[in-house]
Amino acid sequence: MKNILVIGAVAAGTKAASKARRESMDVNVTVLTRDEYISYAGCGLPYYIGDVIKSKDELLVKTPEAFKKEFDIDVLTHHEAIDILPEAKKVVAKDLKTDKIKEFKYDKLILATGASPFVPPIKGVELNNIFTLRTVSEAIKIKQLINTGKVKNAVVVGGGFIGLEVAENLTERGIKTAVVELLDHVLPMYDKEMALLVQNELMEHGVDVITGEAVEAFEGDSDGNVKYAITPSKKIPADMVIMSVGVRPNTELAQKAGIELGDTRAIKVNHNMETNIEDIYAVGDCAENINLITGKPAWFPMGSTSNKTGRIAAINLFAENAERDELRGVLGTNVVKVFNMNAAKTGLTEREAVKEGFDVETVIVPADDRAHYYPGYKKIVTKLIADRKSHRVLGAQIVGEGVVDKPIDIIAAAITFGARVDDLAKLDLAYAPPFSSAMSSTITTANVWLNKVADKVKGISPIEAHEKLSDKNVMFIDIRAEEEYMVKTIPGAVNIPKGRLKKELKDTPKDREIILICNVGKNAYLAYLTLKHMGFEKAAILEGGINAYPYELQ
């Protein structure tokens, strides 16, 4: 019987092993892992710490015993693969419990070695109570420490998905939490103005957000427990630190065996998940991806992609050429919850699209996630990124208290099928008041984009508007009702409700630069048309209005 050997037993490894069994009953399937826990829900770890998930057992999808019983798959835990011998088709592994060296023969080998948290060499990083959060074992230690009640202050280093989920969960447990992010905003993979909306949500819930700074050192007490995180401007109390600056693919084993790495330093694979060495596949977080839009190498260590690649490799173990399964590329679609706010993204950011040489046009459009008369509707803000010439959809980000995963999935599907913004605007989407609006947020956003590209309206982004605040030549006009203006507006804006624009601006020079502000941009669009009709040459609307403006209001 042929031997299928898998190294790694979280998402991609166990997926590959169980799919291999479903493809063939005539093979031996063996899985090696150095960890104690297998097949666990790694993405659930922050919620385990937050006690949303009470017991670690809820995170464990399947035990080694279950794999044996249900699939006749041998899962060997505490077995660390230390060498691959491609010529001899063998893997050398060490039994970590007995220190015994064992050899495993394979006909086909699948590498699912995953990724590990990157820990920068910060002074004091070896102090007690500084953790990374990647495995169940780490999560258990963190939760035990929190359960002692001694953690009053915590610092999270890195404002990516894990960092923000941890910050939320620590805060919910009554721990005063600070997030330190090197970039000038949290969620580094998002465009700034969208990420700032999430950042505001963190701060409103009492999280200290320190951006544009790195932790330079940790200071401990005489017992060697961490007490402070030091940044250039702050000394932050910390009874516990979570390092979440990112992960790196585990490629050491592959490299040693002569397996080629890609530009992203993850294992290079073709669409069939094959490495450069025959009969060796790489799947999950250790493998490189292709960006579906650019066709260039990318690396998205995501559970959703891991499972797919595991399945593809398993099918290809047995497939004839014509039947081989493949993954043409991924978009890096993601979604995250931060307190009451949800954020989702697919495809390229504006920054990435510009860098790739596209003729980029973007819009920012707030909308309700369902009918405004159906209780429970919430706001979401959509940013759409597309190419001016071809109208090809390149990416989107959606942030808000409402449903964001549905519209981002619609756009992810559209990008996958090569849609233009025009196609997006005409999609026939499900509608009834409890679910959506007659003109869904996606369709509205596509229409605004088309209006902008057709020069029907000139918009300026929240970031540009913010930069112009100090420019005395620019006139900010809040065209909403006086009552709304009083509650909050952009600093320095004057209030001219839209009905009075004609009268009050009749003596204003027509070359005056004017930025029109309303709540979402729709009334400002009407006002813009009025001003254009009056002859104003340099009028523009604030895209996304007050709703999407992430800076200080007064």
Binding site: D368, H372, Y373, P375, G376, Y377, K378, K379, E401, R480, A481, E483, E484, M486, V487, K488, N519, N547
Partner: protein, 74 residues
């Protein structure tokens, strides 16, 4: 002390705040007004509004997707 109840469910911005403004003008200091709103943006707005107008926000509750604010005119 007279209490007034207004229903702004289904109203989008600026509906609730503008309505509240109008209604509160008809009240005497010490009177209480309760407003029901389904626009979630109202939660932040009402706090800012009370601070700026000096009226007192007695309570702000969210139940079954309806926000109920109780305000005392000062």
């Amino acid at each position: 002390m007279p209490e007034k109840h207004i229903n702004c469910r289904g109203m989008q911005c600026p509906g609730p705040i503008v309505t509240l403004f109008k209604e509160i003008k008809t009240l005497e200091p010490g009177d209480i007004i309760t407003i029901e709103v389904t626009d979630f943006g109202f939660k932040k707005d009402i706090n800012a509004w009370c601070k700026k107008t000096g009226n007192e926000l007695l309570s702000l509750e969210e139940k079954d997707n309806v926000i109920t604010a109780k305000i005392k005119k000062t």
